[in-house]
């Protein structure tokens, strides 16, 4: 029962801290550009403002348009409940393994694209077309890089995979380095960061995600924005916990949990600094360079898989 409680606590933590995390990245980027950047609580204020506003709908928007934000938000929150954040062996982690987790993200994306197509604006169609195209290339790359880890740990269960990495059965595995590189590239693409997409632009030639949600306003927009922030934190946590699980709590004793929270936040901060540095160094890619980028991720994952077979299975 205690475990269930912790599971809910870590989900609430993830969902609640997601806007803060987005603000941290934004502020880091601003600092690197010699700007002050928004206050850390700005995203919460934005969300509160959006929730209190009356939403404006397009005249021809159907029920699907209104349903979409809820489906997107709920499936993202469900994904947040499933992944182990601070405690490794959480009860809900068994409800969906890593393949189902990827499918939950796909469900959210599917509905987001439907919402974009609903009003029949050219922007919505463009965003949906691009998002679905690139995600179709990113998803296999992500699954392949996770499969490398699954093969090494002989499981697709997140808890088991993390335990296997933590207990060092794996030792030094070159295949994991390839998988990590692929996963990093996919994470950047899936969360819509530079160089694949720019979360702070509305330039029609390049935008992907923003084009899809252009018609949303009020609480609908708030839910989608929040889901986007959760997704960023979720992918970061997933990446860190799968490849660098050190510090995570094995049992639910208070000192272990405290240590786990501290190490989670520290690892996140390091990752976010790297992300901010990376985003400042890079320019946004041309849209037709993105397939090459995702192809690179896919190839890295395949090489990881082959390395696993050649160097690690026989030994």
């Amino acid at each position: 029962m205690n475990l269930w409680l912790w599971n809910i606590v870590q989900m609430v933590l993830l969902v609640g801290l997601a806007p803060l995390a987005a603000a941290v990245v934004k502020r880091m980027r601003a600092r690197l550009q010699n700007r002050r950047g928004p206050k850390l609580f700005q995203p919460y204020r934005d969300l509160a403002k959006l929730f209190s506003k009356t939403p404006v709908l397009a005249e021809r928007a159907s029920w699907l348009f209104r349903l979409t934000p809820y489906v997107v938000f709920v499936s993202t929150v469900l994904a947040a409940a499933i992944i182990p954040v601070i405690l490794i062996d959480t009860p809900l982690a068994a409800a969906a393994d890593v393949i189902a987790l990827v499918a939950l993200f796909a469900l959210a994306r599917f509905f987001l694209a439907l919402g974009a197509m609903d009003t029949g604006t050219a922007f919505g169609g463009m965003g949906a077309s691009r998002e679905m195209t690139f995600s179709a290339l990113a998803e296999p790359a992500m699954l392949m890089s996770i499969f490398v880890l699954s093969m090494a740990s002989e499981s697709t269960n997140l808890s088991t995979m993390i335990e296997a990495v933590l207990n060092g059965h794996l030792g030094l595995h070159p295949s994991l380095a390839f998988a990590l590189a692929a996963m990093l590239l996919v994470t950047i693409a899936e969360t819509g960061r530079i160089p694949v997409d720019n979360p702070s632009t509305h330039l029609e030639l390049t935008m992907i995600h923003e084009a899809m949600i252009l018609e949303y306003s009020g609480r609908y927009l708030a839910l989608i924005e929040w889901a986007g922030q959760i997704k960023l934190l979720l992918f970061a946590t997933l990446l860190l916990n799968l490849f660098f699980p050190w510090g995570m709590a094995v049992n639910d004793s208070p000192p272990a949990m405290l240590l786990a929270i501290v190490s989670w936040v520290t690892k996140l901060l390091v990752l976010f600094v790297l992300l901010a540095l990376f985003e400042n160094r890079m320019a946004k890619m041309r849209i037709f360079r993105v397939p090459e980028y995702l192809g690179l991720a896919f190839l890295l994952a395949i090489i990881g898989m082959l390395t696993h077979y050649i160097l690690e299975v026989g030994v």
Binding site: F110, G125, T156, M305
Partner: protein, 675 residues
């Protein structure tokens, strides 16, 4: 009552439907209702026979007709029962749907040929599944093929339909010939047409491989595996939509059944070579990706769905190929997992593809067009059809908590067991096909966003579509049955898998229901709890709970304002400014240009000056490479050969007599050498 009696009652009901369609041809209204009623009864009997057969031990019987020395042998074992159940499930739904769907057709033309050949087609499929000797199998197989030819060419006024029908007939005969060749090998080895004898026949590895190849080619062609798929996207759209649903949903599954019966059951996998499974796996992976890539570029709704059948048959073949590889390397438990995944997907695909084709029929019925570029905004005029079609779209895109996800998840789990194999080449190939599966799944989602977005969302692109009306209750309830099943099969896999498990029990003498049920009804654990688990119920409950909470908030704060869409200041955006099917798939056309080889045409007309554009017309055509390089070159070769041998035809009568004489001499000589 005996299971096989139920099973045999099903084709009898279908035969009665055939009779009814002839006898009642004067009164079209009565005829339509009676035929549909009898077909629905036939479907229900198939379900009953199938479910009883899955639990009961195999039962056999023989009917006193057929060849003088060979009565028709029938047998209902787990494999036959499963496929009979699949046929029955979709048939019941399609029969109900047809009551409404055929009403509009009946206004224009006689339903007699449709009712007659549809019933015969169903008798053929049920007969193939139940057959227990090669003779009966082939007779029913040909009944199925030929009657469906008449269904494809039902609207024979259009030349494209006649062409599609001819291609279909040609391919059907070719695959019939190949299957016959495979049976011939077994006949020579066993000395009897009966399957009972063929099962025990001893084959040398070379002959076994040859039988496998012939059966694989024959059934693969009928199932639509790449590169043998070219007939499928031509023939399936040409038929009326209720027939398309049956052809795509069930008929190509009968080919999967035939493959399982011939290769797994009769030839037996004990003497399989390692490359059998590898070949099926490779064909499956390439079908999955090619099918969905080509589907993405179609703008004819039914043609698009037909290409998706190629994709899904590929996914089924991936499961079968994995299972065959596992059998060869001596892991029957894992093979059972692969087989269950393939069969689960067979069932799922029958449901969602049947649903989607029926939905396409409803759209066609309401708007009079198959071309997606003329549609749009149907979600407002046809809300129920749209909701049901959406369920089909989510299911086929393999998204939780619907059924497509469960079977793809099981296939992934089977693929991830590859490191157990000792063969490095194969175990590196298998994850690659898992990647192809992932790619196909993600592209399918993109494709169905396009379908749903262009057909049902946005603004109508033509007047006929703007005036579309919701279809009647018969059609809606016909679509609702597979939609509900899509949901149930997605949420309750733990209760469905023990049912399917009877098939691996009978073919491999092992199953997976033990490991499925050990962790309780809530958890789907194909191998072990630590290995992988998925709980569709928890996913569903969380989704519903959260949805409920949000609905409460939503109702409390209902206030919202409606206004025009944002259009960058353009005062009246027209329907043509929306993204359409061609523009939606443009990025993919560019990324996969090597596969598509798109031929683009851009026509502009001007008002005298190149800056004053009057009209711009853009057309793009995408090639099916298998068609272009495979079929057309075979056709060219055939024509070349025909021209070269033309001089043989231009003889006077004594020339022909001379040919006959020479042929006889050669044959007699051959006989002398052989005997």
């Amino acid at each position: 009552m005996n299971a096989i009696v139920w099973a045999m009652a099903a084709p009898v009901a279908a035969l009665l439907a055939m009779l009814a369609s002839v006898v009642l041809s004067r009164k079209r209204d009565v005829q339509r209702r009676q035929v549909c009623l009898l077909l629905a009864i036939s479907g229900l009997l198939s379900i009953a026979g199938g479910i009883i057969g899955l639990f009961a031990p195999p039962s056999t019987t023989s009917l006193p007709f057929g060849l003088p020395w060979l009565p028709v042998h029938l047998r209902l074992d787990a494999l036959a029962a499963f496929f009979l159940m699949v046929i029955g499930l979709l048939l019941t739904a399609v029969a109900i749907y047809s009551v409404g769907y055929l009403r509009s057709i009946a206004r224009e033309r006689s339903l007699t040929p449709l009712g007659f050949f549809l019933s015969l087609f169903i008798v053929g499929m049920q007969g193939v599944v139940l057959a227990d000797d090669a003779y009966a199998f082939m007779v029913f197989w040909e009944i199925m093929s030929i009657s469906s030819y008449f269904l494809v060419t039902f609207e024979h006024e259009e030349e494209s339909n006649r062409k599609a029908g001819f291609l279909y007939l040609l391919m059907a005969h070719l695959c019939g010939l190949l299957i016959l060749g495979s049976f011939a090998i077994l006949y020579v080895a066993g000395g009897s047409f009966e399957f009972e004898v063929m099962r025990t026949a001893e084959l040398s590895p070379v002959w076994a491989s040859l039988a496998f190849l012939l059966a694989g080619l024959g059934f693969g062609m009928k199932a639509g595996l790449v590169p043998l798929h070219a007939w499928l996207p031509e023939a399936h759209p040409a038929a009326p939509s209720n027939v398309s649903a049956l052809m795509s949903g069930v008929m190509i599954k009968v080919a999967i059944f035939g493959f399982l019966r011939l290769v797994w059951d009769l030839v037996g996998l004990e003497q399989s070579a390692w490359w059998w499974g590898g070949l099926i796996l490779a064909a499956g992976s390439s079908s999955a990706v090619t099918g969905v890539l080509l589907a993405l570029q179609q703008h004819d709704l039914k043609r698009l769905l037909a290409y998706h059948s190629v994709e899904n048959i590929g996914i089924i073949a991936i499961g079968l190929g994995l299972a065959m590889i596992f059998v060869h390397f001596g892991y029957p438990a894992l093979a059972a997992l692969g087989l269950v995944a393939a069969l689960y997907h067979t069932l799922n695909h029958a449901m969602f593809k049947g649903l989607l084709f029926m939905g396409a029929g409803a759209v066609l019925h309401a708007s009079g067009s198959r071309d997606m570029e003329h549609m749009g905004g149907l979600i407002r005029t046809m809300p129920y059809t749209a909701a049901l079609f959406l369920i089909g779209c989510i299911s086929i895109s393999a998204l939780p908590p619907f059924n497509g996800f469960v079977s793809e998840w099981l296939t992934f789990q089977a693929a991830l067991m590859a490191p157990q194999l000792k063969d490095v080449f194969l175990s590196a190939l298998i994850p690659f096909s898992a990647a192809m599966l992932a790619l196909a799944g993600a592209l399918a989602a993109a494709c169905f966003i396009k379908v749903f977005g262009v057909v049902f969302q946005g603004v109508p692109r033509s007047r006929a579509v703007a005036q579309a009306r919701e279809v009647d209750r018969w059609m809606l309830s016909g679509m609702a049955i597979p939609a509900v099943l899509c949901f149930l099969l997605g949420v309750l896999p733990i209760w469905v898998i023990p049912l399917i498990d009877a098939v691996p029990q009978s073919l491999l003498h092992t199953g997976i229901s033990h490991s499925i049920t050990t962790s309780g009804w809530l958890w789907l654990t194909p191998i072990a709890q630590e290995r992988a688990s998925y709980s569709p119920q928890i996913v569903l409950v969380v989704l519903l709970l959260a949805g409920f909470c949000f609905a409460m908030i939503h109702w409390r704060t209902r206030a919202k304002r409606r206004t025009a869409i944002w259009s960058c200041g353009n005062p009246d955006p027209t329907a043509r400014m929306q993204y359409n099917a061609t523009s939606f798939s443009q990025p993919l056309r560019r990324i996969f240009a090597n596969i598509y080889q798109p031929q683009e045409k851009l026509l502009r007309s001007y008002y005298g000056h190149s800056l004053l554009v009057k009209k711009v017309r853009y057309a793009v055509h995408v090639r099916d490479l298998a068609w272009h390089y495979g079929y057309l070159s075979i056709r060219q070769f055939t024509e070349w050969l025909a021209k070269r041998t033309n001089w043989l035809n231009e003889r006077p009568i004594h020339g022909y007599l001379a040919f006959t004489f020479v042929t006889l001499l050669i044959l007699l000589g051959l006989l002398g050498v052989l005997v």
